[in-house]
C-alpha cells in the first residue's frame, strides 16, 4: 500500500464495513420475498412527510444551536459551584430516551403540568398547548441543545493557551475574544454538529408522533409502518434509501457551507479568560445560564417524581436487566469509540498527509450515514442476513451491541475528530519522523490529547446505548432484556409508576456517567 495512505487503513476498513453493512442489510431487506407496492402507492404521503420533517428538523437544529452555543460560551466563561453537576445534567439530558423526554416535557408543559399549574396561580387559564410545533421543538431542543453545549464546550477548551495570553496582553474586548478565539474553534465544529442535530431531529420518531399532536410523522414512521404493519420490506428498504440520500445531501451541503478552518494547536491549560470580568457579559452569561437551566432543568427534575418508586422497583428482574444493559453499553461504547478513532485518524491522515479534503469528507460523513440509515430497517436487514447462519436469538447478542455502537458512533466521532486533528497538526510530522505508527503513535502522540474527549465520548456512547430502545425492540426477548425494554414492558402492563422509576434510573445512570466524564474533560479542575 502507498505509504501516504497507510494512515487511513483502519478508518477505510471501518468505512467499508459501515457501507457494506448498510448496503447489505438494505439489500437483504429489498430482496426479501413478498409483494411490494414500492413507493408508488404512497407518493403524496411521502412528499408531505418529507416537507414536514425537513421543516421541523431545520427549525429544531437552529434553536438547539441558538441555545447550545451561548450556553457553551457561558459555561466556558463562568466558574460556579455545581458547575460539574450542570455539565453532567447536560450530558444526561442529551441522551435521554425519547419516551422519557415525552413524559418529562408533558410533566412540565402539559395540561396538568408545572407550567399550567404555575400560570393557574396567577389566574391565567390554559393558554398554552404543548402538542404540536411547541412540543416537537421543546422535545428536540431539550435533547439537542445540551448536546451542542457539551460538544461546543469541549471545542472551546481547544483554544491554545498562548492565544489566551495574547488576548490578555493585547487587551482584547469580549467581542474580540469571541471573534478571534471562540468562533474559529466553534466554526470548525459547527458543520458536523449542525448536521448531527439535523439528522437526529429528522429521524426522530416518538417525540414527533406523541408531542406533535397527531397527523404528523417522520420518514422513520413510514419505515416502521412498512416493516411492521404492511410487512412491505422492499418499501422499507426504498424509504431507507430515500432517507439516506436526503440526509447525506444535507450533511454534505452543511459540510461545504461551513468550511473547516485550520485548527490551531491544542494546549489545554487553565488560563483565566480575559472576558470574564466584563460586566455586561457577566449579565448576559447569567441570563443564558438561567434560560438554559429554566429550559433543561424542570423536565429533568420532573423525573425525580418517580424517586419514591425506585426502591420498590429493584428486584432480580431489574438487577439482571441493569447488568445486561451495562454489559451491552460497555461493549457498544468500546466499539463506537474504536470506530470513531479509526475514522478520525483516517480523516486526519487524508487531510494532512494525502492533502485530500474530499477523502477526509468521506470519513467525516460516514457517521452521518449511520444516523440516516434507520435502525429498524438496518436491524431487520441484518436479521435476514444472519438468520441462515446463526440462531436469531443468539444473533441478538452480537447485533445489539453492534447496532447500538453504530447509533453512538456519530456522537463519539464529534467528540474525537477535533482533538485527533489537532494532535496530527501539532505532532504529525514529528511522529512521522520518529516512524511512530499505529498503536504506538496512538499511545504516545495522540492519547494525551485524546484522553479527555475519549472519556466524554465513551460515557456518552455508553449512556446512549444504555437508553436505547429502538434496536432492542426488535432483537430483545425474554433472555435479552435491557432496562428500556423493561420500561416498555411495565408501561404496557399499566405500571406507570414503575416505568417512570425505570426512566429515572436510566437518566441517573446517564448522569453518573456524564459526571464522571466531565471530571475528566473539564480543564478547570
Amino acid at each position: 500500500m502507498n505509504g501516504r495512505l497507510r494512515g487511513q487503513l483502519a478508518g477505510a476498513l471501518v468505512l467499508a464495513g459501515i457501507l457494506a453493512l448498510v448496503a447489505g442489510s438494505l439489500g437483504a431487506l429489498a430482496s426479501a420475498a413478498g409483494a411490494s407496492d414500492g413507493l408508488s402507492g404512497i407518493g403524496p404521503y411521502l412528499v408531505r412527510i418529507l416537507a414536514f420533517s425537513t421543516a421541523q428538523a431545520a427549525l429544531s437544529t437552529l434553536l438547539s444551536l441558538a441555545l447550545g452555543v451561548p450556553l457553551a460560551l457561558a459555561l466556558a466563561r463562568r466558574r460556579f459551584p455545581g458547575r460539574h453537576l450542570a455539565l453532567a445534567a447536560l450530558g444526561a439530558a442529551a441522551v435521554m430516551p425519547a419516551i422519557v423526554v415525552v413524559f418529562a416535557v408533558v410533566a412540565v408543559y402539559g395540561r396538568g403540568g408545572w407550567l399550567s399549574g404555575l400560570l393557574a396561580q396567577f389566574g391565567i387559564g390554559p393558554a398554552f398547548r404543548v402538542y404540536g410545533w411547541p412540543g416537537i421543538l421543546i422535545g428536540h431542543v431539550l435533547l439537542n441543545a445540551p448536546l451542542v453545549a457539551r460538544v461546543a464546550l469541549d471545542a472551546l477548551a481547544r483554544v491554545p493557551a498562548e492565544h489566551w495570553r495574547l488576548a490578555r496582553l493585547l487587551g482584547f474586548s469580549p467581542l474580540a475574544v469571541l471573534r478571534h478565539l471562540d468562533l474559529p474553534v466553534l466554526r470548525a465544529e459547527l458543520a458536523g454538529l449542525a448536521s448531527l442535530v439535523f439528522l437526529l431531529c429528522f429521524t426522530s420518531f416518538a417525540i414527533v408522533l406523541t408531542l406533535g399532536g397527531g397527523g404528523r410523522a417522520s420518514l422513520e414512521v413510514a419505515i416502521f409502518e412498512a416493516l411492521r404493519v404492511d410487512l412491505d420490506f422492499a418499501r422499507a428498504a426504498a424509504l431507507s434509501v430515500v432517507q439516506i440520500v436526503l440526509c447525506g445531501t444535507v450533511a454534505l451541503a452543511l459540510h461545504r457551507a461551513v468550511a473547516r478552518a485550520p485548527v490551531g494547536h491544542t494546549l489545554r491549560a487553565a488560563i483565566p479568560r480575559p472576558d470574564r470580568d466584563h460586566r455586561g457579559l457577566r449579565l448576559l452569561d447569567g441570563a443564558v445560564l438561567a434560560l438554559g437551566a429554566l429550559l433543561i432543568l424542570p423536565p429533568l427534575l420532573s423525573l425525580a417524581a418517580a424517586l419514591p418508586h425506585l426502591s420498590a422497583l429493584l428486584d432480580a428482574d431489574v438487577a439482571r436487566a441493569l447488568v445486561t444493559s451495562l454489559a451491552i453499553a460497555l461493549a457498544s461504547a468500546g466499539l463506537a469509540t474504536g470506530m470513531a478513532l479509526a475514522l478520525a485518524g483516517a480523516a486526519r491522515s487524508a487531510r494532512l498527509v494525502q492533502r485530500s479534503g474530499r477523502a477526509a469528507a468521506l470519513y467525516d460523513l460516514a457517521p452521518a450515514l449511520v444516523i440516516a440509515a434507520p435502525p429498524f430497517a438496518l436491524t431487520a436487514g441484518l436479521f435476514l442476513l444472519v438468520r441462515r447462519a446463526v440462531d436469531p436469538a443468539l444473533a441478538g447478542y452480537a447485533l445489539l451491541p453492534l447496532m447500538n455502537a453504530l447509533g453512538a458512533l456519530p456522537f463519539a466521532y464529534r467528540f474525537l475528530a477535533g482533538p485527533a486533528m489537532a494532535g496530527g497538526e501539532r505532532y504529525g510530522r514529528l511522529a512521522d519522523l520518529l516512524r511512530l505508527r499505529g498503536l504506538a503513535r496512538l499511545r504516545i502522540v495522540d492519547w494525551p490529547l485524546l484522553r479527555r474527549p475519549f472519556a466524554a465520548a465513551f460515557a456518552m456512547a455508553m449512556a446512549l446505548s444504555f437508553g436505547d430502545f429502538g434496536v432492542v425492540a426488535l432483537l430483545g426477548g425474554s433472555e435479552l432484556r435491557t432496562l428500556p425494554y423493561l420500561l416498555y414492558e411495565r408501561l404496557g402492563a399499566y405500571r406507570l409508576d414503575e416505568a417512570a422509576a425505570l426512566g429515572l434510573l436510566l437518566v441517573l445512570v446517564a448522569f453518573a456517567l456524564a459526571y464522571a466524564s466531565s471530571r475528566f474533560t473539564d480543564v478547570s479542575h
Binding site: 408531505r48 432480580a316 411495565r490 399499566y494
Partner: protein, 336 residues
C-alpha cells in the same frame, strides 16, 4: 435495602447469569409473545408454570416488544424461526400473519367460545378479547358521551388522546371503528373530532400514560381497562364509556407453526390455550376477557364492565386491503 435482601439479590443475579437456561433434556416449547404478556405482571409466568406441570416439557418465551412486531418478526425469520407457537397476534394483522404461510392448523374445536362474534379460523385461535373503548376518570368527567356520534359532534365535548393507526393496534381499531359507524363520512367525523384530539401517540402505553397524567379527559383503550384499576389498585373511578353504536372488537390470537420442532407438543399447547388453566390467567394477567369463560367465572374486578350491544368488526382480509386507503383518509382529515 436490607443486607439479607441484598445478598438474595446478588445470589439471584449470579444464578441467573451463570445458568442462562437449565440444561435439561426435556423438550423445549418455544413461545413467541409480546413483552407485557411475558413480563413481570403478565400472565406468561402462570401459563408457563401450569403448562409445564402437565406437558413434561419446558416453555421458553421469546418476547417481541409488542403484538404488532410479532408478525414482522416471523416474516423476517421465515422458516428458520425458532418459534413453535405464537401467542399474541393482533386480529387486524391476522391476514398478514396467515399470508406468511408459516402457520399450521390448530385443530381445536371452536365451540363454546365467549367471543361476541362467531370464530371460524382454523389457523389462528383466539385466546382473549376485549372491546376498544374510551376510558375516563368519573371523578373528573361526570357525563361521558353516550355514543361515538355524541363524542364527535359535541364541539365542547371531552378531549381525547388516541393512538396512531400506523403504529398501534388501538389506533387502527379506532380508525376501523369510525369507519364502521360513519362509513364514507368518516373523514368528516375525524375533522369534527380533531380539535379535541390532544395528541396521537405511537402506542397504547404513551396514550394511557398521558391520560393518567391528566393530559386528556378520555383515552382510547380497552373496555377491560377499568378492571385493572379495580383489581390492582382498588380504584373504581376509571370507567369505560359505553357507546350505543357498538364497540370495535379486539381479539388476540395464538397459532402453531408448520415448522414446530415437536408438532405434537405444539398441538397440546394449542389445546391448553382454551383450557381453564390458561383462560383463568387472562382476566387479571392480561386484563382482557378470556376467549372461553373458565368454570369459576370471571373475577370480581370484571363485574360492572360495559357490555356493548354490538360488536363491530371488519374481516381481516378487508382490513388488509383497505388499511392504506383508510389511513390516508385519516391523515388528510387530521393533518394540521
Amino acid at each position: 435495602m436490607h443486607l439479607r435482601q441484598t445478598i438474595a439479590l446478588a445470589a439471584a443475579l449470579a444464578l441467573g447469569l451463570a445458568v442462562p437456561a437449565s440444561a435439561q433434556t426435556k423438550p423445549v416449547l418455544t413461545v413467541y409473545s409480546y413483552s407485557s404478556f411475558v413480563g413481570k405482571y403478565g400472565p406468561g409466568k402462570t401459563v408457563k408454570e401450569r403448562f409445564e406441570a402437565v406437558c413434561g416439557c419446558e416453555v421458553a418465551y421469546v418476547a417481541a416488544d409488542d403484538a404488532g412486531s410479532l408478525v414482522g418478526r416471523l416474516r423476517l425469520e421465515g422458516e428458520s424461526t425458532k418459534a413453535d407457537v405464537v401467542v399474541g397476534i393482533d386480529m387486524n394483522l391476522a391476514a398478514e400473519a396467515k399470508a406468511t404461510g408459516l402457520f399450521a392448523p390448530h385443530g381445536q374445536p371452536l365451540t363454546g367460545l365467549a367471543l361476541p362474534t362467531p370464530w371460524k379460523d382454523d389457523a389462528l385461535l383466539p385466546f382473549d378479547w376485549g372491546y376498544f373503548a374510551f376510558v375516563y376518570d368519573s371523578n373528573k368527567l361526570k357525563t361521558p358521551p353516550a355514543s361515538l356520534k355524541d363524542l364527535v359532534d359535541n364541539p365542547n365535548g371531552p378531549t381525547v388522546v388516541v393512538q396512531d393507526p400506523r403504529t398501534s393496534a388501538p389506533g387502527l381499531g379506532l380508525l376501523l371503528w369510525m369507519r364502521q359507524v360513519y362509513g364514507d363520512k368518516a373523514p368528516e367525523a375525524w375533522g369534527k373530532l380533531k380539535p379535541r384530539i390532544v395528541t396521537v401517540t405511537k402506542g397504547w402505553s404513551e396514550a394511557y400514560g398521558l391520560f393518567l397524567k391528566g393530559e386528556a379527559d378520555m383515552v382510547l383503550s380497552y373496555s377491560t381497562s377499568p378492571a385493572y384499576h379495580v383489581g390492582a389498585e382498588k380504584k373504581t373511578n376509571y370507567r369505560a364509556a359505553a357507546f350505543n353504536e357498538g364497540h370495535y372488537l379486539h381479539v388476540e390470537l395464538a397459532g402453531m407453526l408448520r415448522t414446530a420442532k415437536d408438532p405434537e407438543l405444539a398441538k397440546r399447547f394449542m389445546a391448553f390455550v382454551l383450557s381453564d388453566q390458561f383462560q383463568s390467567a387472562m382476566p387479571e394477567g392480561n386484563w382482557m376477557f378470556p376467549a372461553r369463560t373458565p368454570a369459576a367465572g370471571l373475577p370480581a374486578s370484571f363485574n360492572g364492565l360495559i357490555e356493548p350491544a354490538r360488536a363491530l368488526l371488519f374481516a381481516p382480509e378487508e382490513v388488509q386491503s383497505r388499511r392504506r386507503a383508510f389511513t390516508d383518509e385519516w391523515l388528510n382529515a387530521t393533518a394540521r
